[in-house]
Structure formats: structure tokens, C-alpha cells
């Protein structure tokens, strides 16, 4: 009789000890959630569309509460809501920058919430600090790169080429490069 690999939190060390070890991730996650929901609040407020603002505030608070209560199912829902809200804002022609920041904050919040959940499976002897540092560096680089590209696409207008076409070409190129790199790495 074997027990399936359970993903319950390690009993040793206690929850407080586990939380204190991933404090960097928790802080980054809280900041990301604040960035995401705060940007949406500002973007919607600037457009005098104040009804959803309180819901965004509640979403942010609920997200933090959900993480505190280990309701990890909440995080993907919160990400989905921020994306929908940002998309709706773009459609209603609210400030694109705030909407991008809102979506990016949601993405980072979801990523770090999931990472914090994965880190809770680590044993007390595992190198949690190193993993946190590396993950935050990479997530930060990805966020900066994504934000930079998004802002560039907002501010730079190519007159001779439709932006949609340009983006499509970029995506195709990225996909092609990815396949090429993955193919080369096999040899």
C-alpha cells in the first residue's frame, strides 16, 4: 500500500517558520497585487468609471486574504479577473499604460502566489533563499521585458507598417527562434 504523493505542507518547522523563509516572495507578491489592482483603480478612476473601483480594491484585499488562508485556487481567478478588467479598460479606451500595468501586476501576483505555494513544499534544509532570489530575478527580467515591449508598442508608431502586422511578425519570429533554439539544444 502506497500513499500517493501528497502536496500537504511539511509538518516540520511550522507555518510561521515556512512563511518567514519565503518573506522575499511574499513581499514581492503583495507589491505585485497592489500594483495590479492599484493600476486598475487609477486607470478606471481617471476615466470617471468609478463603479468597478471598489471591486478592484476588494479583489486585491481578497487576493491577499486568500493567500493568507492558503486558498490557492483564488489566484488564477484573480488573474483572470485582472486580465478581463484590463481588456475591458482598453476596449473602453482608458489609459493603456495603467491597463498594461494592471495586467502585468496580476500576472506577477499569480506567478509569485504559485511560487510561494511551491516553496511551501520545501524542507527546512532546502535552499529556499537561493531559489527565491533566482526566481525573483527572472520574473523581474520577464516583467521588465514584457512591460518595455508593451510600452514600446504603445508609444512607437510605425507609419509604413501596420502595428498589428508588426506584432504578428515579431511573434512569428519569436516562435521560429524558439523552435530553432529548442531544436539545436537537442544536439
Amino acid at each position: 500500500m502506497l500513499q500517493p504523493p501528497s502536496l500537504a505542507k511539511h509538518p516540520a518547522g511550522g507555518e510561521d517558520a515556512a512563511e518567514s523563509r519565503i518573506i522575499m516572495t511574499i513581499v514581492a507578491m503583495v507589491l505585485s497585487i497592489l500594483l495590479g489592482t492599484g493600476s486598475l483603480v487609477i486607470g478606471y478612476s481617471q476615466a470617471d468609471f468609478t463603479d468597478p473601483v471598489r471591486w478592484f480594491v476588494l479583489l486585491g484585499l481578497g487576493w491577499l486574504l486568500a493567500h493568507w488562508q492558503k486558498w490557492y485556487w483564488f489566484s488564477p481567478i484573480a488573474l483572470f479577473v485582472t486580465i478581463i478588467a484590463a481588456g475591458y479598460g482598453v476596449w473602453r479606451e482608458f489609459s493603456t499604460v495603467w491597463m498594461i500595468l494592471g495586467a502585468l501586476g496580476g500576472l506577477l501576483g499569480w506567478d509569485l502566489s504559485d511560487f510561494a505555494r511551491r516553496l511551501s513544499y520545501a524542507a527546512p534544509t532546502d535552499d529556499v533563499q537561493g531559489m527565491q532570489r533566482r526566481h525573483l530575478e527572472r520574473a523581474g527580467i520577464v516583467a521588465v521585458l514584457g512591460l518595455g515591449l508593451a510600452l514600446l508598442s504603445v508609444y512607437i508608431h510605425i507609419t509604413r507598417l501596420a502595428f498589428e502586422v508588426a506584432v504578428g511578425l515579431i511573434l512569428l519570429a519569436a516562435l521560429g527562434l524558439t523552435r530553432l533554439v529548442m531544436g539545436l539544444r537537442k544536439y
Binding site: A123, R134, V142
Partner: protein, 413 residues
């Protein structure tokens, strides 16, 4: 979002999607190409006693590409409990590196198989995730505690040809007086019975001793739920297992050929054998023995006595019920010498029931019923050891089984 951008021909939607695209690309680009993990497992001891500590050491080697995030989880058999350390670790495993972790487990009697180590491999953003099973087999046997019994006196009707310690109901060399016969040239002078010889002028007589040989012994462990299981989940089965282990050890040490039959939801038969190897076999069987219920084996009528050589010794370890009397008498009638080791179910059950007048009255009734049953069994010529499990088994055996009862010592019974 990209689709919305294309449909509405608005670049802002695609701008909104760009961070997500970058995120996904970064994840896919850094996903490990080849996951090739190997593992070895070492147990500090593959044979243990119940609840003793066993240190499990697992080493995982990465023969594939660099793995940024690996969640290793050793699948611990369900009845074992972790005492020290953890069986789950989250780590980064570079190419060619290895990682070793140890933890300590303990558990009750049983046979435990360690199978695989589960590894969940993520890229550094957990965009891609793969779960692999790494084979690292191991076995742990937690044997029942074996009490050393000094001597178990049995007297089967038939013995084997090899010299041993069981009186063989035949004259020859031995320890116990068997009879007197006419002196034959070659008899040692110390065997001459001078008193008998003095009464006869022409003849001399020698003492003859009972030959001592080894015997065939079949131990039957009763694992029926209806005899072992009591209210509130209490069970006598562990005591029965301990008794069976102690009896098997003692009888094998005496040189006998011992087999074991576990009579539970199905029959588990360990073929008779001698010595230390047989002791191991029996302990392995006892380690796996579990009580169980079955329509077929709900009473002892289907006990396959033909597994045991005719007129051999059968040791039944069972708390006994009313229905068991007839099969026991039948066994005796077939010529088997039967010894019943019976953990006292009445005292056991009363020990955890509330001490009130109702329990006391009920206890008196069932105690009388049990006493009556044991008397009936004894009257059928069956030796009974009524074991109150609060007493150590070896002391009870020493007191009651170190010498055969007087009625059994008479030759021919």
C-alpha cells in the same frame, strides 16, 4: 487578447498581451529538454522490529539537462510514519549533480515496499511542468517481536527419524525412562536394571529409554475477524501473531520441522521446513499476516488438515469461539496431537470496557462460557494454553508448557 486585437484592429490589445507572451516564451525557452533522473535507495536495516527507527537514504542523480526546479517526493508506504527528516524536497539540480536526503521512518508489523520517487520538474517560471517517476526500490520487513521460549513440551504420536528432543514413544537411547527389557550383549553396564535382574537368577534386564526425535509441527494462526476483532476496533490478532512467532521459534530451535498456516480471509501456507531459513520464512509470513473475514473461512471446518502429516502436532493459535469445538475434536479424532494457544478474549475485552455492574455481569457470563468451552476442548484430549495477554507469553509458556501434562505423558495417548 491577441485575437481581440486582431478582430478589433487595435494595437492596444496586443500591447496588453505582450507581457504574457514574453512570460510564456521565457518559460518554454527554458524548459528542460531531457529529464533523466536516476535514484538509489539505502535502508539502514531491511529487517526491523515494530516501531524501531529505520534510516532511509535516497540519492538522486541528474543525468540529463539542468533542472531549475525539482520537487522530489519519496513515496512512503502508508503505514510507516516519518520520525525524523522529510521525504519531500524542493531543489535546483544542475546537470550531472546529485542530491542526497535522509529521513527516518518507523512502523508497525508488516512488509513494506518502497517503489518510486516522484519528481515534478518545472521550468524556472513553472510554465511547463512534468512529473516523472524514478525507480528506487527497497523493502522493509517489520517482524513481530519473537519471545525466546525455553522449552515447549509437545508429544505428537508420530515423530520423524532424526534425533531431536521430542519423546518418540519408542525405546532406545534417550533421557526419559521408557521400560525394561532383557539384557542384550553390548548394553552399557549403567543401563542394567539391577533390581529387576536380582529378582531373576538366569536373566538380566536393562533399562530402556524413550527415543527423542524431531517432529512435524503445523502452526495454525487464526486470523478470522470474528474471533480477533472486538468492539471499538480492538484486536487480539497482534497477540496471536506474537504467540505464533514465539512458538515457531521455539519449536524450530528444538529441531522440529515446522510449517505455518495463516487462516484468515484466505489461506497462506508456509511449507514445513527446518532451521533458520524456515524461521525467516515464517517471520516473513507473519510480517504480512492480516486478519480478515470470509464466508468460506468463517469457521474452522474448512481448515485443510491434510496439509499436515498424519499424527503430527498441530498448534492452533486462536481466541476460539463456540463453533470451533467440533473441528478441534475432529482434528483430534484424525490422530493429530493438538495444542491450542488461546489468547483470553474475555479478559482482553473487559480490560477496556467501563468497570460497571453491567460489564461485570456480562463478563461473568462470557467467562463461564469460555471456561466451559475450554473444558470441553480439554476433555477431547486437546492441550489448552489459556493466555491472559496482560501476562508475558514466555512466562505463561514456562509455567504451563515446559512439561507435558501428566495425561499426555502416558505412552499411547
Amino acid at each position: 487578447m491577441i485575437l481581440a486585437g486582431i478582430v478589433t484592429v487595435r494595437g492596444e490589445f496586443i500591447a496588453l498581451a505582450l507581457p504574457f507572451v514574453v512570460y510564456l516564451l521565457a518559460g518554454f525557452l527554458r524548459s528542460p529538454d531531457e529529464i533523466k533522473l536516476e535514484a538509489t535507495r539505502h535502508l539502514s536495516n531491511e529487517r526491523a522490529s515494530p516501531n524501531s527507527d529505520i534510516v532511509v537514504t535516497v540519492t538522486v542523480m541528474n543525468r540529463g539537462s539542468h533542472l531549475e526546479e525539482v520537487l522530489l517526493e519519496d513515496v512512503v508506504p502508508v503505514d510507516l510514519s516519518l520520525r525524523v527528516g522529510l521525504s519531500r524536497h524542493l531543489l535546483t539540480l544542475p546537470k550531472g549533480a546529485s542530491y542526497t536526503f535522509t529521513y527516518t521512518v518507523s512502523g508497525p508489523r508488516g512488509g513494506y515496499g518502497f517503489e518510486n520517487i516522484s519528481a515534478k520538474v518545472n521550468d524556472h517560471l513553472a510554465v511547463t511542468s512534468r512529473r516523472v517517476q524514478i525507480e528506487a526500490k527497497g523493502q522493509l520487513f517489520v517482524f513481530p517481536p519473537v519471545m525466546r521460549l525455553r522449552r515447549v513440551a509437545i508429544r505428537p504420536r508420530r515423530t520423524r527419524v532424526y534425533a531431536g528432543s521430542i519423546p518418540a514413544r519408542a525405546g532406545g537411547t534417550g533421557m526419559e525412562f521408557f521400560g525394561v527389557r532383557e539384557y542384550q550383549p553390548g548394553d552399557p553396564p549403567r543401563t542394567i536394571n539391577w533390581r529387576a535382574s536380582a529378582r531373576h537368577e538366569e536373566l538380566m534386564y536393562s533399562n530402556e529409554f524413550q527415543q527423542e526425535r524431531v517432529a512435524d509441527v503445523g502452526i495454525v494462526l487464526d486470523g478470522r475477524l470474528r474471533t480477533n476483532q472486538f468492539a471499538h476496533g480492538y484486536s487480539l490478532f497482534e497477540y496471536s501473531v506474537q504467540a505464533a512467532a514465539a512458538m515457531a521459534d521455539a519449536l524450530l530451535t528444538q529441531g522440529n520441522r515446522v510449517g505455518l498456516l495463516v487462516y484468515a480471509s484466505f489461506l497462506r501456507w508456509t511449507l514445513p521446513g527446518y532451521g533458520k531459513v524456515q524461521r525467516e520464512r515464517i517471520l516473513h509470513t507473519l510480517a504480512h499476516a492480516q486478519p480478515g473475514g470470509s464466508e468460506v473461512f468463517s469457521d474452522l471446518e474448512h481448515l485443510p488438515t491434510r496439509l499436515f502429516p498424519s499424527e503430527s502436532q498441530i498448534v492452533l493459535v486462536s481466541p476460539l469461539t463456540e463453533d470451533d469445538l467440533t473441528p478441534l475434536v475432529q482434528m483430534r479424532a484424525q490422530g493429530y496431537q493438538v495444542l491450542v494457544v488461546s489468547p483470553n478474549s474475555v479478559n482482553f475485552e473487559l480490560s477496556y470496557l467501563p468497570k460497571d455492574q453491567y460489564a461485570e455481569l456480562a463478563g461473568r457470563v462470557v467467562r463461564m462460557e469460555r471456561t466451559l468451552l475450554l473444558h470441553k476442548v480439554q476433555r477431547a484430549g486437546i492441550q489448552v494454553l489459556d493466555w491472559d495477554v496482560t501476562e508475558p507469553f514466555d512466562l505463561v509458556v514456562k509455567r504451563k508448557l515446559s512439561r507435558p501434562p501428566a495425561w499426555l505423558r502416558a505412552v499411547g495417548r
